[in-house]
C-alpha cells in the first residue's frame, strides 16, 4: 500500500513536471509576434481595385486627399517578427522592408519598421486599425506597406 502511495506521488510529480517544462522552454524562446504585412501598389492609372477588400483602403486614402484611382495587392503575408533578427518583406521595386520586435510592455508589442529611403517607424500593435506606410515608387505608382493585426 505504501509503495502505491509513493508511486502515486511520483506520478503526480512527473505529470506536474511535464506540464511545467514546456512553459519554461517557451519562456526561454525568442519573443515573437505575428504581424500581417500587405504590399499594395496605388496608382492613378486605371481604376482597378484588386482584391475588392481594398475598396476600404481606397476610401480612406480619398478622405485624406490622395487621388489614387487604382489599388492592387502585390503581396500579403503574416510574419513572425522576433526581437533577435529582423524579418524582411520583399518589395517589387527591389528593396526590402524590415520588421523587428523592439520589445513588449504590458502585453503591447512595439515593432520597428524600416524601409530604405523612408522614415523608420516604431509601431505599437493593437487589435484594430492599420498603419499604411509609403514604401517607394514602382511602375508609375506608389507602393504602400500595410501593417495590421493578423486576421483570426
Amino acid at each position: 500500500m505504501r509503495t502505491h502511495v509513493t508511486s502515486g506521488r511520483v506520478l503526480l510529480a512527473v505529470l506536474g513536471l511535464g506540464l511545467l517544462m514546456p512553459l519554461v522552454a517557451r519562456a526561454q524562446e525568442e519573443q515573437k509576434v505575428r504581424v500581417q504585412a500587405e504590399v499594395v501598389l496605388a496608382s492613378r492609372k486605371g481604376s482597378e481595385v484588386e482584391p475588392p477588400e481594398l475598396v476600404k483602403m481606397k476610401e480612406q486614402f480619398e478622405k485624406q486627399n490622395f487621388n489614387f484611382t487604382s489599388f492592387k495587392r502585390v503581396s500579403m503575408e503574416v510574419l513572425e517578427v522576433g526581437d533577435k533578427k529582423a524579418v524582411e518583406v520583399k518589395l517589387p521595386n527591389g528593396s526590402n522592408a524590415s520588421l523587428q520586435l523592439l520589445g513588449m510592455k504590458d502585453g503591447i508589442a512595439t515593432v520597428r519598421v524600416a524601409i530604405p529611403r523612408q522614415p523608420t517607424l516604431d509601431v505599437e500593435l493593437g487589435r484594430q486599425g492599420a498603419v499604411y506606410q509609403k514604401a517607394g515608387k514602382h511602375v508609375g505608382g506608389e507602393l504602400i506597406l500595410v501593417l495590421s493585426p493578423p486576421s483570426r
Binding site: H4, V10, L11, N67, V123, R127, V131, Q133
Partner: protein, 201 residues
C-alpha cells in the same frame, strides 16, 4: 484417530465416537494417556526453548525478508496506473472524459477571446518616426477615421527642385498622389530632425 483426539482436532461427532470407544477399550485409553503425556512434555520443552530466544525486532526482521526489492520507477508507475484503472475504472474514465470535454469546449473559447501575443493595445499606433539619414523633408502623418494611420513622405527631389513654375504641375503628380489642398509636409528642408516619440501623433 487418537492423536487428533488428544490434540483436540476432531469434530464433536468423532469425539463422541472416540470417547465411547475409550470407555470400553483399556488399551486405547492407555495409549491416549501416553499421547497426552508426550504432548505435555513436548509443550513444556518447546516453551522452555522459546523462553531462551530473543524475539525483539522479530516482526521487523521477518517483514524485511518478506518485502520484495523496490521495482524500477517505470514499473511502479505502470503498476500504479493499471491498479487505478483496475479498481477505479469508472472514476478514471469519467474523469478523463470530463477533462476531454472541458478541453474541447474551453480551449477554442479561450483562443477566440484572447488577443494574439503583443496585441493588448486597442489600436495600431505609430509611437515614433525617425526620418532616414539626410532626409530633407519630414513625413506626413494622417489619421484615418477607421483608426488607421498613414505615413507619407513627399519625395525629396520634388521638394528640392520645386522652384520653377513649369514644374509645379509635375509636382502635383509627383508628391505621391496627394491632391492640392491635402495636408502637406512640415517645413523643408529638415536635415536634423529630432525623432518624435511618445504620445499620440
Amino acid at each position: 484417530m487418537l492423536s487428533p483426539y488428544v490434540d483436540g482436532e476432531l469434530t464433536p461427532a468423532e469425539r463422541v465416537n472416540v470417547e465411547r470407544h475409550l470407555s470400553a477399550c483399556r488399551d486405547c485409553t492407555g495409549r491416549a494417556a501416553d499421547l497426552r503425556a508426550e504432548s505435555g512434555l513436548l509443550r513444556v520443552g518447546l516453551d522452555m526453548a522459546v523462553d531462551d530466544v530473543d524475539f525483539k525486532d522479530f516482526a521487523l526482521k521477518v517483514m524485511a525478508r518478506v518485502t520484495p526489492e523496490k521495482p524500477p520507477l517505470l514499473e511502479r508507475l505502470k503498476l500504479s496506473l493499471s491498479e487505478m484503472f483496475l479498481y477505479q475504472r469508472t472514476a478514471m474514465v469519467s474523469s478523463f472524459a470530463t477533462a476531454a470535454v472541458l478541453a474541447l469546449v474551453a480551449v477554442p473559447l479561450l483562443m477566440r477571446d484572447r488577443a494574439p501575443v503583443g496585441y493588448a493595445g486597442e489600436r495600431m499606433t505609430v509611437k515614433a518616426i525617425q526620418p532616414y539619414q539626410d532626409a530633407r523633408v519630414a513625413p506626413v502623418v494622417m489619421e484615418t477615421d477607421n483608426g488607421g494611420t498613414i505615413i507619407w513622405l513627399v519625395d525629396d527631389e520634388v521638394q528640392n527642385g520645386a522652384s520653377s513654375s513649369e514644374e509645379d504641375e509635375e509636382l502635383q503628380e509627383d508628391v505621391g498622389g496627394l491632391r492640392k489642398g491635402g495636408r502637406q509636409p512640415g517645413p523643408k528642408p529638415k536635415t536634423d530632425v529630432e525623432r518624435p516619440s511618445g504620445g499620440p501623433l
